[in-house]
Structures are given as C-alpha cells and as structure tokens.
C-alpha cells in the first residue's frame, strides 16, 4: 500500500487531538502553550500534505506553513511573556489559580 494523503491526514488529526487534550486538561500555562504548539504543527502537516497531493502546481501550502511557523513563534513569545508576568505578580503558573478577576 502506497502512502497517500489520507495517511498524513490521520496522523495530523491524532496530533491535533493530543494537543487539544493537553490544552483542555493541563493546569500549567506553559503546558497549555505546548499543547497549542502541537495543534499548530498538526495544521502544518495538513498544509504541506495538501500542497503535495491536492495542489502540487504551486508551493502556496509550504509558504503558508512558513507563515504559520512565524505566527507560532510570535504566539509562543507573547504567550510566555504573559506567563512570566503572571508568575511575577501572582507567583503561580497554574491557570486555575490565576483567578484574581473573580473578586
């Protein structure tokens, strides 16, 4: 059996859902960001796979992947800055304890 588009899509779906699970269940803000990274990577696999199997004439999918990687880097930079700020002010990175706005 040759490797086709479906193979890559299945892997990316599994990776995406693992990332989603991480985001839903983790308490540590950094771990949540790691889950988001996994989800973005799953999207990237899809983009590259579609580029190869659905629209191989141009490399738009791969260029999109570069853009997504850029955005992931920015997201991680700002997200981790927020984590650092929260840690400095509240001395925790557990998101369920960062609940100051409730009062």
């Amino acid at each position: 059996m040759a490797v086709g588009l479906a193979h890559f899509l299945v892997v990316s779906a599994l990776l995406f859902c693992l990332g989603l699970y991480g985001v839903l269940t983790r308490r540590n803000a950094v771990a949540i960001l790691m889950g988001i990274e996994l989800m973005l990577n799953a999207a990237n696999i899809n983009l590259v796979a579609f580029n190869k199997y659905v629209a191989p004439a141009a490399l738009n999918g791969q260029v999109f992947t570069l853009v997504v990687i850029t955005l992931a880097a920015c997201e991680v930079g700002v997200g981790l800055a927020l984590v650092m700020a929260a840690y400095r002010n509240l001395e925790t990175v557990q998101v369920d304890r960062i609940n100051m706005l409730k009062w």
Partner: protein
C-alpha cells in the same frame, strides 16, 4: 531526494547507537562500587542544600525571546538569498523594507534595555 535523507536518518540513528555502544562498553569494563557519598550532588565538597531546580533571572527569557523573533527572520532570508539575483531590484527593495522593520524591533529592544545584562 529521499535518498539524501535516508543518509541523514542513518547518521542520526548510527550516531546515537555508537554513542550508546561506548556507554555499553563502559558498562562491561568498568568496576562499580556504589557508596552513598559517590552519588551525592557535587557542590565543591559542601553538603548540598535545597534543590537546584530553582528560579533564575528573567534576563534569560528576554534574550530567548529576541532570539526566537530574529531566528524567524533569518528563515525568510534564506530563500530570498538564493533567488534575489533572478528577481532583480524589486526583490531587493522588498527585503530592504523587511529588514528595516526588523531593525526597528532590534532598536526598540536595545532602547528598552532588553539586551542589557545586569
């Protein structure tokens, strides 16, 4: 093209295996005598206190942040570098704008002291 990367994979796997092999040889050849002091954390002869897994200076984060942003910038330079000759002036101007915007970022980080180590 896949053939190239077969070699890359072979290098990675064989590298790990050979390095592991040297540790295996050590396992066979070495004498082992475990007494508690030997496995103590080394702190220049003092009895260690506390965990090393403590917190460090925020400076490291700022350098890491600027690094990530500029590493991303460099990845756009690579494809530009190999084609800008064919695309002429327009490509050069595009990259000029791109780099000037990022130099502004560097200037901002510099000005705000994110590049200072105190």
């Amino acid at each position: 093209m896949l053939l190239d990367w077969l070699y890359v994979a072979a290098f990675a796997v064989i590298g790990l295996l050979l390095a592991g092999l040297s540790l295996a040889i050590v396992w066979v050849l070495s004498l082992r005598s475990a007494y508690p002091e030997k496995r103590m954390t080394y702190e220049s002869g003092m009895v260690p206190f506390g965990q090393a897994w403590a917190q460090f200076n925020i400076r490291y984060y700022l350098f890491g942040l600027v690094f990530v942003i500029f590493a991303v910038e460099v990845i756009y330079l690579y494809p530009w570098a190999i084609v800008f000759r064919q695309l002429g002036k327009f490509a050069f101007v595009e990259m000029l704008i791109f780099l000037v915007v990022l130099l502004l970022g560097l200037a901002y980080a510099w000005r705000k002291g994110a590049l200072e180590w105190i």
